[in-house]
Every structure is written in structure tokens, then in C-alpha cells.
Symmetry: C2
Subunit: 190 residues, 2 copies
């Protein structure tokens, strides 16, 4: 393992600025913003961006680490929630909120552009794993239909996020979550 020398002070500053600008920009306008534009807004040359992040995907991955790491942490914490159903749906709501506020994340959730899941995995964050545990726990508690799979939950989530593509609508979000919640409830025995 090659030991890394510390970055020069200006390099560290620039790297941080680029990352911050990229987070804001991708959140506001999605992943299709050109790298040149990120550089321009950060007030650096394109070379500076690509030295710190050799490819656009590397930049995306750095963001995912920063952004999804937090979310996954929150999800793990919700595994300790007293009520398994509340924990599960709190995570669902959390993701829906984040997706509504962050267009880049919404695209990742919808599977457009880069593969968020894979980038998160490379960063050591297992989003699917959190979902699996949260879901299994809610199912064990009888709060969610037993035949539901993680992929189903993700698809429903992407539907909720899609609802707010053209702008945040908290009321619609709550309605969507309520619909999903109702649909996921185990069928009442006849």
C-alpha cells in the first residue's frame, strides 16, 4: 500500500470546494451537469477537478460516500426502533424526503445515470442490506406482507420519488407514503 503524502494546503481547499459545489449542483440539477460546469462554479480549472476526481464517476462516488453514508447510518439506527413497522416506514420516508430534495439522488434511486448502489458498495455502504434487515424485521413483526421483496420496496420508493420530479410537494409525498403503507399491510384475514 503506497503511503499517501498529505495534500498541499491549496489542493485540499480546492478539493473540498469542488466537492461542495458538486454536491449542490447535482442535487439541484441532476447528474447530467457537465464537469466543466462544476469546475466553473467552483472557480477552478477543469484539470483541477479531474486531478482530484479522475473521472466523473469518481466524483459521483465521493459524493455518494458523503451523502449515502449518512443515510445508511440513519437506517441502521432505525433497526433499533422499538416498533419495527415505524422503523421501516421512517426509513422509507427519510429516503423519499432526501430524494425529493436531491435530484441527483432521485436519479440514482431511479437507476438513471450512474449506479448508486454500486458506488455505495465500493464505499463500504450496503444500502440494500439495510433495506433487507429493516424489511425482514417489519415482516417478522407482521407489519408488512411476507411476500414482499426488497426490490419491490425500492421500486415503490422510486415511484414516490418520481411523484415529486417536477418540484417538492409534501402533501403528495405523504399521500404516496400512506398509499404504500396501506398496500404493504398484510391482507386482513377473511
Amino acid at each position: 500500500m503506497p503511503e499517501e503524502r498529505p495534500l498541499r494546503a491549496d489542493a485540499r481547499r480546492n478539493r473540498a470546494r469542488v466537492l461542495a459545489v458538486a454536491i449542490d449542483t447535482f442535487a439541484a440539477e441532476g447528474m447530467s451537469v457537465p464537469v466543466h460546469e462544476i469546475a466553473r462554479r467552483a472557480g477552478v480549472g477543469t484539470g483541477t477537478v479531474s486531478r482530484h476526481f479522475p473521472t466523473k464517476e469518481a466524483l459521483y462516488e465521493a459524493i455518494v460516500r458523503e451523502r449515502v453514508g449518512q443515510i445508511v447510518g440513519d437506517g441502521r439506527a432505525l433497526l433499533e426502533h422499538g416498533d419495527p413497522a415505524e422503523g421501516f416506514f421512517a426509513f422509507f420516508r427519510l429516503m423519499a424526503e432526501q430524494g425529493a430534495a436531491d435530484r441527483g439522488l432521485a436519479e440514482g434511486l431511479a437507476g438513471v445515470g450512474f449506479d448508486m448502489e454500486a458506488a455505495a458498495a465500493r464505499g463500504g455502504y450496503d444500502v440494500t442490506g439495510v433495506w433487507r434487515e429493516l424489511l425482514a424485521r417489519a415482516q417478522r413483526a407482521g407489519a408488512v406482507r411476507g411476500d414482499v421483496e426488497v426490490a419491490d420496496v425500492k421500486a415503490l420508493l422510486s415511484g414516490c420519488v418520481a411523484r415529486e420530479r417536477s418540484g417538492p410537494e409534501p402533501a403528495a409525498r405523504e399521500r404516496m407514503i400512506a398509499i404504500v403503507r396501506g398496500g404493504l399491510r398484510p391482507a386482513a384475514p377473511a
Copy 2:
């Protein structure tokens, strides 16, 4: 209105061939397939494609007319279905099936790439209108929550379609539809 002379026989053949190839290709591989590739597979030059369809969007629009026109027709027919709820959910299932079988359509439903809705409208097909009537009818019959909007239904549909992004899974599709159906049911009075 400039009166149109009939196309030359070979031109008519080529146009039809391009359209057929485009339908198949976009269905199998999505809208990001280059126009050159469509031309190659149809065995014509790129010029031939762009003469019949001046832009890629025009090609897309011609497909939408062919494809969505049929769907909208089916939807209108379902407005006559004896059971409003059955009509509504039959249309939902129909769209989900089509989306699972046609990647281009799935992208249109998800709002990726071209604007299907707008292309359909230019062609005289009002997809949203059909949804609105089907939904209103189901709501009047008390089969669907009264607070649900057409945009909600479309988002839920895009979620169902997203579930099968990586390949058709009829069982998952039925489960997704069941979840949506359950979630859309009016809350039972306490």
C-alpha cells in the same frame, strides 16, 4: 394546407421498414440507441431515416402514435367496463405489462429521455385524460381513495414498471399491482 403527393413506392417501403425496426429496437434497448444504428439495422442509409423523420424526436413521435394510440383506445374502452374499479385496474395492469415488455415505453413512463406525454398529445392522444376519467369513475364508485390524483397514479405506475427494469418478472408485477391496489383502497371506516 399543402396537399401531399403520395410517396414513391420504395420510399413508402423504406419508411415502414425504418419505423418497424425503430419500434423493435427502442422496445428492446431503450431510447438511447443511436439513429445510425436504427438505419443500419433497417438496411438503409442515415439520410433515409432523417428524410422520413427529420429528427430523432419525430421518429419517437411516430412510434408513440402507433403504440400509445392503441393503449389509449383500450383505456377508453375500459371506461365502459361494468365495474369501475376493474376498469381502472385493468388499465393499470395493461400499462404495467406494456412497460415491462417495452423499454422505450418504460423510459417514457418514467419521464426519462423524451416527453411521451407531449408526443402523444401532439398526436391527438390524451393519456392523462384517460387516466383522469378512469380514476374519477373509480373514485365515484368508492373503489379508490378520493384524495388520490392522476399524478399519484402515474408515479405508482412508474414504480411498478421500475420493478421490472432488469427483466420481466410477472410474479413481481402481480405483487406490485396488488400492493398498489391495496394502498389505493379507501381506508375502512373505523
